[in-house]
């Protein structure tokens, strides 16, 4: 892989993170006096002054920017005003719960979505294909918060078989995972199907069939590996939608993760916690996208060359 491709990708990723930091800074300053925002309108002027001093709010804007950036890189992002602890700490302790939910969901999504898509493509235009695709469209269209509420209504309220809130046992995972994985699996099924169909229409597949290669072998050795390449491209999108789905699902099921923390912080305008969470999400997404881009270039040399031209 060319070094230029690598460097460009990494440079872009860093640039994006800088942009996001700047965006948060601008939004924070535009939103008014941060000191007032943090202490609320009834704060006494003395503590306001202390805070302004501490955050450098009295200095010219470019100095504030420099201070802000340096604070961010030192991991100093302010204190949560809800419980007075370091915002980074508050967010960090929630990460494991969120990750555990996301891993399980990702596994379920891939295990259902990709095989469903492949089956659909292999049985293109049959009843099985149509049923799968109809389910996929429905799965895509049902908002996850409504699905979550429906599941609670059925399994917790009506039949009383599953707990509706918390994260203590494996039973607590079932409904959140279904809630999140439904739409994701639908996306994967649709995408895999179209990627597969495109590959199956390629001349080299038809050649292989014409040569008398057994169908199973054609699929296993020619179609599947090539269809895997485009599927990698939506991995970045997948991570993004897992994060969004996670935020909503954690709130539906009172899951004590980062998503629930974020919404509480937004509702209470706990800005320190909000900015830590956003930075966390941004960095993980940019990193994930970087890995996906590099993996993609590694999987498909054509794309790598084409992309470095285009950039």
């Amino acid at each position: 892989m060319s070094i230029r491709f690598f460097i460009r990708k990494i440079f872009r990723a860093l640039l994006t993170i800088c942009l996001i930091v700047t965006f948060i800074f601008v939004a924070l300053r535009l939103s008014g006096d941060s000191a007032l925002l943090i202490f609320g309108p009834d704060a006494d002027s003395e503590s306001l002054e202390i805070l302004r001093e501490a955050w450098g709010l009295n200095k010219p804007i470019w100095q504030q920017y420099v201070i802000y950036i340096s604070n961010v890189f030192h991991g100093d992002l302010g204190k949560s005003y809800l419980d007075g602890r370091d915002a980074v700490e508050v967010v960090a302790e929630r990460i494991p719960k969120t990750l555990s939910l996301m891993w399980v969901t990702a596994a379920v999504t891939l295990l259902i979505g990709i095989p469903a898509g492949i089956q659909s493509a292999l049985h293109h235009n049959t009843k099985r294909d149509r049923v799968t695709m109809t389910l996929a469209v429905m799965g895509l269209s049902i908002p996850n918060f409504f699905l979550g509420v429906l599941l609670i209504l059925l399994f917790s309220v009506t039949w009383r078989v599953l707990p509706s809130a918390g994260s203590d046992s494996w039973k607590h995972y079932i409904m959140p995972v279904i809630t999140m994985a439904t739409a994701e699996a639908a996306v994967f099924a649709r995408f895999t199907r179209s990627a597969m169909l495109e590959i199956l229409n390629q001349p080299y597949i038809r050649t292989a069939i014409a040569k008398g290669v057994p169908w199973k072998k054609v699929v296993r050795e020619h179609a599947l590996p090539n269809a895997a390449i485009p599927i990698v491209t939506i991995a970045g999108f997948f991570i993004g939608s897992l994060i969004v789905g996670g935020v909503i699902t954690e709130n539906v099921f009172a899951w004590p993760g980062v998503g629930r923390l974020l919404v509480t912080a937004v509702a209470n305008r706990d800005l320190a916690v909000v900015q830590v969470t956003i930075l966390l999400i941004a960095v993980s997404m940019v990193t994930a996208n970087l890995i996906v881009d590099i993996a993609y270039g590694w999987l498909d040399p054509r794309v790598r060359d084409l992309r470095s031209e285009e950039l």
């Binding site: 942009l19 269209s141 049902i142 908002p143 305008r269 800005l271 909000v274 941004a282 997404m285």
Partner: protein
């Protein structure tokens, strides 16, 4: 010069009279039943939204504590006064549903229109000026693509607080980058070769070139994108409202209704289920319609 087209034209006029069954068959070949149902449902929802004040039986804010949490008419305890039951404050669920549909569709509609105009205009600007304007627009596109928009909206709502105008503006920012990317790409190819240059050499102003020539030519791609974007906007709005950081009371939207009704899930499921079903059916029909439009107008687009 002999004209082939003329010959073909006279042929086509001599088509035999089609019988009714063939015509029906052709109609459904062009418009599958599922597409017709989806379109009818959407029309119905639009009708409900437009005439909300006329068809809703009650004012959606009117409280009647004597009839709190009354069940829908077909259940035990329900009556014809409140078709879909009442909520925790005795407000008529049907009326709230009607006004929620109006609010949600209005926000999604405004958001889609704002996003389309904003994105298309920025795409044109980027393609026209190139240089640093292009760089800025592209950086914006990259930025927006680097974070899920849901997260961006959460941040902005946290920093700026919430009001309806800001909220609608946010929905407009959602998805602008896709219009901008489509417009920029197609415009660039049109103005570096092809008809746009030709019109330019005729002495047309850039505005004429963009609005009279390029816009009609890229409109199908933009319309396809709008149909893909609309359900996304509905879901974004209702998700935020569901979490309590979107549309604020006393106004109501589908997500907002669902979010508040969630607390009464054990006693009054109807408060949450009706708006949920409404969102589901709206996005479902929009997706069906969108897939169909895409296949017809622009099969190359993902």
């Amino acid at each position: 010069m002999t004209d082939k087209l003329e010959v073909e034209l006279t042929h086509s006029e001599e088509k035999p009279q089609e019988n009714f069954q063939i015509r029906i068959h052709r109609f459904f070949g062009r418009y599958p039943p599922i597409v017709i149902i989806a379109a009818l449902w959407l029309l119905f929802m639009i009708f409900v939204a437009v005439f909300a004040t006329l068809i809703s039986p009650y004012d959606f804010t009117s409280i009647d504590l004597r009839t709190r949490l009354q069940a829908p008419v077909w259940m035990e305890g329900g009556d014809w006064n409140h078709l879909f039951g009442t909520d925790d404050l005795g407000r008529d669920v049907l009326s709230r549903l009607i006004f929620s549909i109006r609010m949600s569709l209005l926000i999604a509609f405004l958001g889609t229109v704002i996003g389309a105009i904003l994105g298309t205009a920025l795409g044109f600007l980027a393609a026209h000026f190139r240089g640093w304007v292009d760089d800025v627009v592209m950086a914006g596109i990259d930025f927006q693509a680097s974070l899920p928009f849901f997260i961006i909206s959460l941040t902005l709502l946290a920093f700026f607080g919430n009001n309806l105008v800001l909220f609608i503006g946010l929905m407009g920012i959602y998805g602008w980058e896709r219009y901008a990317r489509i417009t920029r790409g197609l415009t660039l190819s049109a103005i570096t070769h092809g008809y746009a240059i030709a019109v330019n050499t005729l002495g047309a102003t850039p505005i004429r070139v963009y609005l009279r020539h390029i816009l009609p030519n890229i409109s199908s791609a933009l319309i396809v994108n709008m149909t893909l974007n609309f359900p996304g906007t509905v879901i974004l709005e209702s998700s935020l409202s569901f979490l309590g950081i979107g549309v604020q009371p006393p106004l109501t939207s589908l997500g907002n209704m669902l979010g508040f009704g969630r607390d009464y899930l054990t006693t009054a499921w109807w408060i949450t289920v009706f708006p949920g079903v409404a969102i589901f059916l709206a996005t479902l029909s929009m997706s069906i319609l969108g897939d169909w439009v895409r296949d017809r107008l622009d099969p190359t687009l993902m």
